[in-house]
């Protein structure tokens, strides 16, 4: 079940590269095997965050104060493109990220965020660039506010930007709903669909023609 999200005022870190893919967010070798939930936070952005000898890369923004405390990312175009690996979202969540603001996201990554109580917000690129510029000018001291109830982002200097969000997904985040339980309440509908589909497209339903 996803964690609920309502409002957040926090340190934000701009990661403005274009096309940050999910391989860069979490290396496949960190998610393979049983190193699943709970141990991935330290591996988020591993190739950017650590030098080849394993020490922190001082150039990487999330290794610097106050960005180490960031709970919000402000991101460049096409953030989270590539592999479907949900571990990318888990690793960000485990390092404390609750909201990601950008001009566009990989479709599967975007869906995975909602499954884990992370709010992804899409705004025009010009607004994203101005948010990043404000944060950089304050050297990270200026905090961003994300309000899912009001559907607004407030910049450190107080400018407010309204964002669009799918009402279903908004409701899901506000309440932290469990989709599997909700869908299983419709199990009669699912079974009715399958029964009529077995007549319409019998070649889909193996049990139908093995008998």
């Amino acid at each position: 079940m996803a964690q609920a999200f309502t409002k957040l005022t926090a340190t934000a870190a701009p990661i403005m590269r274009t096309n940050v893919d999910t391989d860069v967010i979490i290396s496949i070798n960190r998610m393979i095997g049983n190193s699943a939930r709970g141990s991935l936070g330290k591996w988020a952005f591993g190739s950017l965050r650590y030098l080849p000898d394993g020490s922190d890369n001082p150039e990487f923004i999330l290794n610097r104060e106050p960005y180490r405390q960031a709970e919000i990312l402000v991101t460049g175009p096409n953030f989270g493109c590539g592999s479907s690996r949900e571990a990318a979202v888990w690793s960000l969540q485990e390092m404390g990220i609750r909201a990601i603001i950008g001009s566009g996201f990989g479709d599967i990554f975007f869906a995975n965020c909602f499954q884990n109580g992370i709010l992804p917000v899409v705004l025009d690129k010009a607004i994203i660039d101005s948010l990043a510029a404000e944060i950089e000018a304050s050297q990270g001291a200026g905090r961003l506010s994300v309000d899912l109830v009001e559907q607004t982002i407030t910049s450190p200097s107080g400018s407010r930007h309204v964002f669009e969000i799918d009402p279903r997904r908004r409701a899901g985040l506000l309440e932290g709903l469990d989709e599997i339980s909700l869908t299983l309440r419709r199990d009669q509908e699912i079974r009715a669909f399958q029964a009529s589909d077995r007549d319409a497209r019998p070649w889909i339903h193996f049990a139908g023609y093995q008998a």
Partner: protein, 469 residues
């Protein structure tokens, strides 16, 4: 009422709506759920821990591909790879899910075996916890990658909650020039619209070049849809599609086959259907493609020059190119052809089918891999492997100095101990040239199978048109 004709996407979508959840979001029936070793057992274990049974195990199929070694006897499989395979065996068996295990016909890369076994059919809704699930769209299926939570939802309910995407049609018209393949068309498209150009869209590929293209080329085209940002790629099924599917193990037979084909013939966009975005590409102007950077959109014709950041005015674009050039260790402004390579990888869900191996063998026949280059051929499935051996393709590759391996994902994602060493340069038929994708600090250039062989035998990125017979 909609006054326009309907798109292929709309026709397939509407057939799968179990319940309308909002104006643009539906609960859709999943016809085929494909599991692999990396995430499959975890979803089954999650479900077991909640005491929820698998809703339709007979519509769920599994195979190991990501984490197993492709060395002979699977000798190189890492400990976690064996553990994932063991868990997949235990959990699929407990749930009554068909597993295509190693060394059995049917095992292979999940997006190779679906079409090959007749599991992937026109009009089918197919999901898998892997972004390249869009591959199956080459047969006219609505197929897309999902995350782990969604995977568990599908196991529990045989449905997926999905927002209806916008539609984009890409029309490839014209005759493929000499030396140009499906891979070159789709790479050229990604270069044209960008790695986010298809975000939020389902892309239908149409036009004379698609109609003329064999099915396996269509699978390659749809496979790379996700690299232009689209979760789904689709091609209307036609007689070629039906001929490809007929007689495959899980395809309908007899009277059922005739009924299925009659239904499949309706699966095409109406002539007056309206798309949210249209792109037209003249394939006659495309030459063999090769990527230079760290996104599939960083692509060039093989006669092109490596970009020079000094020519770029937009600071964000210039910065992105500088980072990519630095990672790739390339000289701005130099010709891409002639760049020395250390590795060549032929395989992956993009280009590991029999036709890919035939095209590669055609260039490799009678030539030798250049000294200092290591070159692998990894067939996409046990069936591809057996068919290739029956044709003697393995011998062509081995004689030329390639390593002939067992089926699996291998170096495409390097999750299995099979990596390009740090700093080394690889020409690969796979789908992603991301930073670290083929191993930490590995440098990847994406290309077609024929172009990969041209690089292997030249020891450098080379124009295959000088070698094709």
């Amino acid at each position: 009422m909609d006054t326009h004709g309907r798109t292929l996407l709309a026709k397939i979508w509407d057939q799968h709506v179990v319940a309308r959840l909002s104006d643009d979001t539906d609960l859709l029936h999943v016809d085929r759920h494909l599991l692999h070793d990396l995430g499959g057992s975890r979803g089954l274990i999650d479900l077991k821990s909640r005491n929820i049974p698998v809703h339709n195990p007979e519509l769920t199929f599994a195979t190991p591909d990501h984490a197993i070694s492709t060395a002979s006897g699977r000798a190189g499989t890492i400990k976690t790879g064996w553990e994932l395979l063991a868990a997949l065996r235990t959990e699929t068996s407990a749930s009554g899910i068909q597993l295509f295990d190693i060394d059995q016909p049917g095992q292979g890369i999940v997006h190779v075996i679906g079409p090959e076994l007749g599991l992937s059919l026109p009009g089918c809704l197919i999901v898998c916890g892997d972004s390249h699930t869009c591959t199956h769209g080459g047969l006219g299926a609505l197929a897309f990658g999902i995350g782990s939570s969604e995977l568990t939802h599908v196991l529990a309910t045989q449905t997926i909650i999905q927002r209806r995407p916008k539609t984009m049609r890409v029309t490839f018209d014209g005759k493929l020039p000499f030396g140009v393949t499906a891979k070159d068309l789709i790479l050229a498209l990604i270069g044209h619209v960008g790695a986010a150009g298809g975000t939020g869209y389902a892309v239908e590929y149409a036009g004379s070049a698609i109609r003329d293209m064999p099915i396996e080329g269509r699978l390659t085209i749809c496979n790379l849809s996700v690299e232009l940002g689209a979760k789904m790629g689709l091609i209307a099924p036609d007689d070629k599609t039906f001929d490809y599917i007929r007689g495959r193990p899980y395809a309908p037979k007899g009277e059922m086959w005739d009924r299925a084909v009659a239904a499949w013939r309706t699966l095409r966009s109406d002539s007056d259907a309206v798309f949210d975005r249209e792109v037209s590409i003249d394939v006659g102007a495309i030459i063999p493609q090769i990527t230079w950077g760290t996104s599939p959109e960083h692509v060039l014709g093989v006669d092109g020059r490596i970009p020079d950041p000094a020519d770029i005015t937009d600071p964000a674009r210039r910065g992105a190119i500088e980072i990519a050039l630095d990672y790739m260790g390339l000289t701005p402004g130099a010709p891409i052809a002639g760049t020395p390579v250390d590795w060549v990888f032929i395989g992956s869900c993009t280009n590991s089918r029999l036709s890919d191996l035939r095209a590669a063998a055609e260039v490799a026949r009678g030539r030798k891999v250049a000294p200092g280059v290591r070159a692998w051929v990894v067939p996409g499935s046990e069936t591809v492997k057996r068919d290739a051996v029956a044709e003697g393709l393995d011998k062509v590759f081995i004689d030329a100095g390639f390593e002939w391996r067992e089926p699996g994902c291998s170096m495409c994602l390097a999750a299995n101990g099979e990596t390009v060493p740090p700093g080394q340069r690889s020409v690969s038929t796979s789908n992603r040239n991301f930073i670290g994708r083929q191993g930490p600090r590995a440098r990847t250039h994406l290309a077609s199978p024929a172009m990969a062989v041209a690089a292997a035998v030249s020891g450098a990125i080379a124009d295959v048109r000088t070698m094709e017979r």
